[in-house]
């Protein structure tokens, strides 16, 4: 396990990224404690919890309180504040960052990737024959495996290419689950066609497991999007869907700026549908009709057709 404080820097004082100031009208000790929790969670993960969502947070953290025999919510927050243990901080972050996912979620981005992005990238990299793709918040792995299956559909065209697929998530539990590639019958039925299920999965106990040849294509790694991206290198396509919407605007801008620097000049960033809700970022051109973000000043590469003269 990596050092927690390397992955999750200590909380910043009021005014740091994602800081939320308690309002003067909130008087009770519980409210003040919850406000401090929101502020620290924002600093650690970028996730913004609305002030009126205390009951939801309590519901998410209740299993941790039960497991650790912690009597009340303020006590849990106190232990979190003083970073009582690395494990506790990690459990709280994981409970707060778990989100719903499914195979080929929203479908359209994967079609765009297969039909437009991939041919464009392959045309401009025909000499190097190298592609790097990053699934930046892979949760329990469905999006990363959806990408691996999409790439498998182009296996003939990609023969002889080096294709690197990196999948990261802030949650170690999610990464472990993603790496195992084991899903319940319910999970495999959501978004996967029966043809895909038969081709890419095998039965395992009561559930299903992704076949080894697909699992082996993905490198899974725990990673916090708020930490330094420089060590990761440049990617030709980044999927970071349905993550930014949990961040406050300042953190969202910061993450977008850093993602733009991790993107090849003609690379593509896939966000969730209408995730930016009209916000613009200086590094990126306005999204095209395909909803994909490209860096500003870098026109979309021309698709070289095999029969072009």
């Amino acid at each position: 396990m990596r050092n927690l404080h390397a992955a999750f820097p200590p909380p910043q004082p009021v005014g740091g990224a994602g800081a939320v100031r308690p309002s003067a009208t909130e008087g009770s000790a519980a409210n003040v404690a919850f406000d401090r929790f929101r502020r620290q969670l924002a600093a650690l993960t970028g996730i913004e919890v609305a002030a009126d969502r205390q009951y939801l947070v309590e519901a998410r953290l209740a299993p941790i309180m039960r497991a650790r025999d912690i009597g009340d919510f303020p006590e849990l927050l106190r232990r979190f504040e003083r970073r009582e243990s690395e494990a506790l901080v990690r459990e709280i972050i994981e409970a707060m960052t778990t989100s719903e996912t499914s195979f080929f979620r929203d479908r359209a981005p994967f079609d765009v990737f297969r039909d437009q992005t991939l041919p464009e990238l392959m045309a401009t990299r025909a000499t190097a024959r190298r592609l790097r793709i990053w699934c930046a918040a892979c949760s329990s792995g469905q999006e990363a495996y959806s990408l691996a299956m999409t790439l498998d559909q182009s296996a003939n065209a990609l023969r002889g290419w080096s294709v690197e697929l990196l999948a990261t998530d802030i949650s170690q539990t999610a990464i472990d689950a993603a790496r195992a590639g084991a899903y319940s019958q319910f999970e495999v039925q959501r978004g996967l066609s029966t043809t895909q299920l038969l081709r890419y999965f095998q039965r395992q106990g009561d559930g299903w497991r992704v076949n080894e040849h697909i699992r082996a294509r993905i490198v899974f790694q725990e990673f916090n999007l708020l930490s330094n991206l420089d060590g990761l290198g440049k990617f030709d396509a980044i999927f970071c869907r349905n993550v930014l919407l949990y961040f406050d605007p300042e953190t969202r801008r910061d993450v977008l700026a850093r993602l733009s620097r991790a993107l090849a000049d003609d690379g593509c960033l896939f966000l969730g549908a209408s995730e930016l809700a009209g916000e613009r970022h200086p590094a990126f051109a306005a999204p095209g009709s395909d909803g994909v973000l490209r860096l500003r000043g870098r026109p979309r590469p021309q698709l070289r057709l095999a029969h072009a003269v």
Binding site: S102, R107, Q185, F186, Q189, R190, G191, L192, S193, T194, T195, L197, L198, Q202, R203
Partner: protein, 121 residues
């Protein structure tokens, strides 16, 4: 509005499936076995059929073979719906001419994704 015929010998499954499909804006009718389902198809071909595997009288396989030989019987999309979740079973159903396969238990999200897969949602 597209029409879906729900074929299952369990009245409870028929009721649940119809409620889910109607929630997805389909019109539905039902049959309790393959023979009754063929009679429904003779009255009017549905756009899709949610088809149980094991039924008295005429099971899902026999029904599917008979359906595909009927005039217009190639048109309906067929979604096999069963508790059988072995790869071999699923592959056989697809080979027999099913368009999709749904494993019980299911919910509205799963039903929606299967009907998206066959192009009806």
């Amino acid at each position: 509005m597209k029409q879906v015929l729900v074929v299952d010998d369990s009245a409870v499954i028929r009721k649940v499936a119809r409620r889910i499909l109607e929630g997805l804006h389909f019109r539905t009718n039902e049959a309790q076995d393959g023979r009754a389902a063929l009679a429904e198809c003779e009255k009017g071909m549905p756009d899709a059929i949610l088809l149980d595997w094991n039924m008295p009288e005429m099971d899902g396989f026999e029904f599917l073979c008979a359906l595909r030989k009927m005039p217009g019987g190639a048109a309906p999309k067929v979604v096999f719906c069963t508790t059988e979740n072995e790869v071999g079973h699923i592959a056989r159903a697809m080979h027999a001419g099913a368009d999709e396969y749904i494993m019980k238990p299911f919910d509205q999200n799963i039903m929606r994704s299967k009907f998206e897969e066959i192009g009806l949602v």
